[in-house]
Amino acid sequence: MKLKNTLYSLTAVIALAAVSCRDYVEVDTYTTRTLQYTRDYEYVINYKSNFETTCVFPLLTSDDVAAHAGDVKNIWYNSEFYNAFIWAKSYYGDNQQDLGWDNLYKHIYISNQVLDGVMESKGGTSEHKNLIAAEAKIHRAFAYLSLANQYAPIYDPAKAGEQQGLPLLLKVDLFQDLSRVTLQKVYETILDDVLTALPSLPDLPTHNYHPSKLAAYALLSRTYLVLRDFNKAAEYTDLGLDLSQELNDLQVYNGNISTFPRTLDDPEIILSKKAATNLKAPINEELIDLYSEDDLRFQMYLGIDQYLQGYAFLRPNFTGQGIDAGLRVPELILNRAELYAREGNAGKTVEMLNKIRIKRFETDKYVPLKETDIDKDLLQAVIDERRREFVGTDLRWFDQRRLNLDPGYTKTVTRSYQEQTYTLEPNSPRYVYPIVETVLELNPEIGQNPR
């Protein structure tokens, strides 16, 4: 009897042991999974926070910021902001991380992770996979363009083959070499990414945090301007303008600002990205003087702030969603204006400028610009309009950098801080940001930028 009992229990144990084999625990949990299906990759692309937040320094180093900003008591809490403001030798202290660098390289990692597996993923059509891969490439190209215009030298077509570029990561490998490639190679990669992504993208995005053909054209427009290939830039800008020329009519929102369109509903936004923080800084008086009293941008985007001892940039407060740092329709229009100006076409330049300006003034008060107003210096007229339109965003810094190659258009910028004067001369090496020490300590092959 006893033997039978032990025999029964032994078989029971063995049976249970056989049943509860390893597969039992390999069950799908509900919210976490590995990347297996095409829709998993789609979900990664859908998550706007994966690609949304960029950097902050271009807001500080551009001449949109007033010369006395650093002396406003306790204006910034972070010492790296003061360092960037005076274009110091080094921005960060011993153990700090560089938010802009980290964020943009994170976008690159996520794009690489998507591109790494999406084509072999299960359960999707090849159009769907191509679309997902194309969106990832656009985000990656955007990130590299942004990084190249902060941490790499100003692109000079004559020298780009020898200029030090960036660490170029195109695949997921946690241990790949981080030596920099030439600036030429970085831009070739950016162009390759956008051009190969173009065919698979829809004309217009479903939601503006998804890349589209319109975003690709806008990105090419920006890139070719930096590369100084003005013919190509014109070609792609026109393709973009064919798809959209939507602008917000500011007079509708004047006095009614709580109805201003939120980021998702804003027709001017082509590819939505946000700056890493809302910077508080007084605006340069030279820029304030460029506005006329009737300009609604002056009335709505700017406002006197006693504490800052100057004008503050108020546009981020309209919907509380941060400073736009992505691609927008006004940029397409003004890029075209600049390209016409460079060709010497006064008529078309003035047409483009008026296209924007009519939406920035009350219609009955608006006096359109005439060719004779601007034909003394077409390029300067466009530059001034760009400054008025893009006040408080990162675009001015990128413009300042590339205008260094147009002799006479870049002036020395002067700032004062704690009774010392700091200047940024044309073509100064301090147009290139220093790379943070923590990154260089871990991978010294990256090499610091000469200051």
């Binding site: 919210t31 998993d40 809490y77 360092n83 939601h207 709580s258």
Partner: protein, 526 residues
């Protein structure tokens, strides 16, 4: 659900002097977790109704700007399963003169992204005990009451959590557009495996003097390989910290327990004393000796030849005439706050000691006289060092600034004007690009490293047991009242700054020492 198979058998002839006890089992379990939460606006207590709101439409705030309410619904569900096989056996021979024991177990559980080898490995241990007292040559030695020798060897380990051989994503939904979304929780790191510990222990139990004095002494060595550490990683790769198997270390130690029964009559006094000593050293590290100052200061990377809990600090060189920190290099040169980390190297830092105590233990004295009992328990930790927190939350720490600058008394001693550097070491507050270096070098300097040795009074308890004679006319069969006071704080500390080494008070007041607690209890049976 668990099934277990037990064997307990005596055998070995007519007097059954041998015994085998054996247990084997399998267990599997499942955890299903669900969570639903929601936010409602405009709740009316009378009608129990709530208002309908559109989460995506802008409303006007008090400043005139636009804002949306956003969604408040949250739903989540999680499924988790685990599986264990285990077995224990003890075989004792000759009435317990020799005992051989062993255990084996294998646990597996749901971990997304991990491969099978990563999730589960078999763990085992083996031990033996020789009860020397039972040997024939010890029979006549009456002054030795117990004498036994123990030996064990085992393999244990830790699963790497939070990183797997495949990238893991977390799914959710965008509240504004209703698109399904996912973010990447952890990258694929195929190099990560279990952290394994092999330990060996030899112990001696001895008692004498009619069991009044007994002690147990153990000596152990451990070899831990593939230690898991969250190492700082280059954010250029997309991750600023990653889990790696980074080092091997060996450690050894001694545990001593002494029990003395001084008196046994009406007045009883028993003392129990514990002493432990532990030392460890990293014998191999995946990364070479760190050139990375931030890591040495943070104590995060295992370094060959040093214990795992090392503490390094800058050599303090006083304040300069702007009230900012200065440190010495190894040659005695002074480096100001304006000079960056690239002008320092690891030899400029000073090794201060270990941050966990090498010597530790407790002392418990119990007294009883007739029906009264009294117990006093102390614990001690000696031989370690720690960083004292001084000023905190000076305005230029990046990240959070909560609108107040800590409440440390050191703030009153800070540098305020040129000349103050002659009599203070607390840096001044200025909104200056060097502020971060000034405060971080001060906080990490050898000036703020103090000894952590201390003795704590852990508990005093006392009680009275009512004798049965007193209870005869009451409904109680037994009645007993006990009280205790716990967490009475530090009895002695080596540092002169009044710091409690176990609880460093931070500016967010999240780490206060527990306050003394008083308990009284009455136990009775009817």
């Amino acid at each position: 659900m668990r099934t277990q198979f037990n064997v307990d058998k005596n055998f070995g002839g007519s007097d059954a002097r041998h015994n085998l006890a054996f247990v084997a089992g399998a267990e599997f379990r499942q955890n299903d977790y669900r969570n639903v939460s929601d936010k409602y606006y405009g709740f009316d207590e009378d009608t129990y109704e709530v208002a309908t709101v559109n989460p995506n439409v802008s409303y006007q705030t008090i400043d005139g700007w636009g804002m949306t309410i956003g969604s408040g619904t949250a739903n989540s569900r999680n499924l988790h399963r685990a599986l264990s096989y285990y077995s224990n056996a003890a075989f004792s021979i000759l009435n317990g003169k020799y005992v051989l024991s062993g255990s084996l177990r294998f646990d597996d559980f749901t971990m997304v992204g991990a491969s099978r080898e990563q999730r589960a490995q078999p763990l085992w241990s083996l031990g033996g005990k020789w009860n020397i007292k039972k040997e024939r040559f010890m029979e006549d030695l009456n002054w030795i009451n117990t004498l036994a020798l123990r030996l064990t060897y085992g393999v244990n380990g830790t699963v790497p959590m939070g990183v797997g051989h495949k990238a893991v994503i977390n799914l959710s939904r965008d509240n504004d557009t209703n698109e399904k979304t996912a973010y990447i929780d952890s990258p694929a790191n195929s190099t990560v495996t279990w952290e394994k510990v092999k330990s060996f222990n030899v112990g001696l139990d001895y008692s004498t003097w009619d069991n009044r004095l007994s002690f147990a002494i153990d000596y152990y060595t451990k070899k831990t390989s593939d230690i898991l550490y969250n190492l700082p990683f280059n954010p250029t790769y997309g991750w600023s910290r990653l889990l790696f198997n980074s080092a091997t270390m060996k450690s050894h130690g001694v545990d001593l327990g002494v029990n003395v029964n001084w008196f046994r009559g009406n007045f009883k006094w028993n003392t129990l004393f514990n002493f432990g000593y532990n030392d460890n050293e990293v014998t191999d590290s995946r990364f070479e000796k760190s050139d990375y100052i931030a890591e040495l200061l943070g104590g995060s990377r295992p370094i060959v030849g040093l214990p795992v809990d090392y503490l390094y600090a800058y050599r303090w060189a006083g304040l300069d005439n702007k009230g900012q920190s200065q440190i010495y290099t190894k040659d005695g040169e002074i480096l100001s706050s304006g000079q960056q980390m690239n002008e320092l190297d690891v030899d400029d830092l000073r090794y201060m000691g270990r941050s966990t105590p090498p010597y530790f233990g407790g002392l418990m004295n119990s007294f009883s006289y007739k029906n009264f009992t009294l117990g006093i328990r102390l614990s001690y930790s000696l031989g370690h060092v720690m960083r004292r927190l001084s000023i905190q939350n000076y305005p230029t720490f990046d990240g959070e600034y909560s609108g107040r600058i800590g409440a440390q008394r050191e703030l009153a001693l800070r540098w305020q004007k040129p000349g103050d550097e002659a009599h203070t070491n607390v840096p001044g507050i200025t909104n200056d690009p060097n502020q971060f270096n000034s405060t971080s070098r001060y906080s990490n300097s050898d000036l703020l490293v103090i000894s952590g040795s201390h003795v704590r009074l852990q508990q005093i308890n006392f009680g009275y047991n009512f004798p049965v004679s007193l209870l005869q006319r009451t409904p109680f069969k037994s009645l007993n009242i006990t009280g205790s006071i716990r967490n009475m704080g530090i009895l002695w500390r080596k540092n002169k700054d009044g710091v409690d080494p176990n609880y460093r008070v931070t500016n967010k007041y999240t780490n206060l020492a527990p306050s003394p607690a008083f308990f009284i209890s009455v136990n009775t049976s009817l």
